[in-house]
Subunit: 141 residues, 2 copies
DNA sequence: TTAGTTCGGTCAATATGGTTGACCTATTAT
DNA sequence: ATAATAGGTCAACCATATTGACCGAACTAA
């Protein structure tokens, strides 16, 4: 059954919630939260990125990042290595364990997208990306 | 400048964040949060809906809903009236003040969408809705 | 070399938004 | 009369964020 929603606002809300639901449940079993997934996700996309960039990408304070990051490093999911070219800086990468978890979590989400894209067709998929891209960029100005 | 993201997952994350940013800032000036907007939004869409349905729609516990709802009623944004046909039930509606606030908040978001839809074209807009609808429905099964 | 700046880590206080569990009243249904 | 439903409220708890302050190590520029 459809939720009967057609307004983009509601669609975005419900869609987002659905996409995030399974990973949230899985994270809860580790005692982790959505933040941890976000951290894993962006380290996976940009291996070796410094802490400061992660703060910028996630748009959170150093203090907000600190606790989840420490947990992920302590749990053996993330490696925080000195950058030899600037030893103040730490470069973040995923361990094998971290990669595995990130894959599981994002895998659920990518499968949801793949199913939606397949069902809606490639033109709709392109449309979705085009609109989301503009939405994401639009708020910057 | 583009964020250089093309993966749907990242797009959804950044798009959602952008859409939610302005209303969040505005709400903060009233000492309110995103929950309050969600409540206003769904009451606006379904005037007269009972508390229990709001709980279902938002997928939160009675206790989680209680505090924000009480604040909105106390602040004169929401009216909670007895349903004469079942006097246990309360039907929630927006006051003029509530309508005005909801309009301001959602207005920002609708303008973002309108701009993105206009720039991406009507086919992309339809594609976006089609994909989001499937995403939202997909997780239910 | 000294002085200043940046990167990262950490502590503390505070706010918000959610959870469960328990309990109450009023109302409706059996 | 009893049970079920709708809603409100209290309490304890946890996670996620904020700001402000401070620290050490390391790089940069005077």
């Amino acid at each position: 059954m459809s939720l009967g929603e057609n307004e983009p606002l509601a669609l975005l809300y419900f869609g987002f919630r659905t996409v995030v639901k399974r990973p949230d449940e899985e994270l809860a079993r580790f005692g982790l939260g959505r933040v941890h997934h976000r951290v894993l996700f962006f380290i996976a996309r940009r291996p070796g990125l410094p802490v400061s960039e992660l703060m910028t990408i996630l748009d959170v304070s150093k203090q907000a990042l600190h606790a989840p990051l420490r947990r992920l490093v302590g749990g053996g999911f993330v490696r925080s290595a000195e950058n030899p070219e600037d030893r103040r800086e730490r470069r973040l990468t995923l361990t094998a364990r971290g990669k595995a978890l990130e894959d599981r979590l994002s895998g659920h989400q990518r499968r949801l997208f793949a199913a939606a894209f397949k069902s809606a067709g490639p033109a709709a998929a392109r449309g979705f990306c085009s609109v989301m891209q503009r939405l994401a960029d639009g708020g910057a100005g």
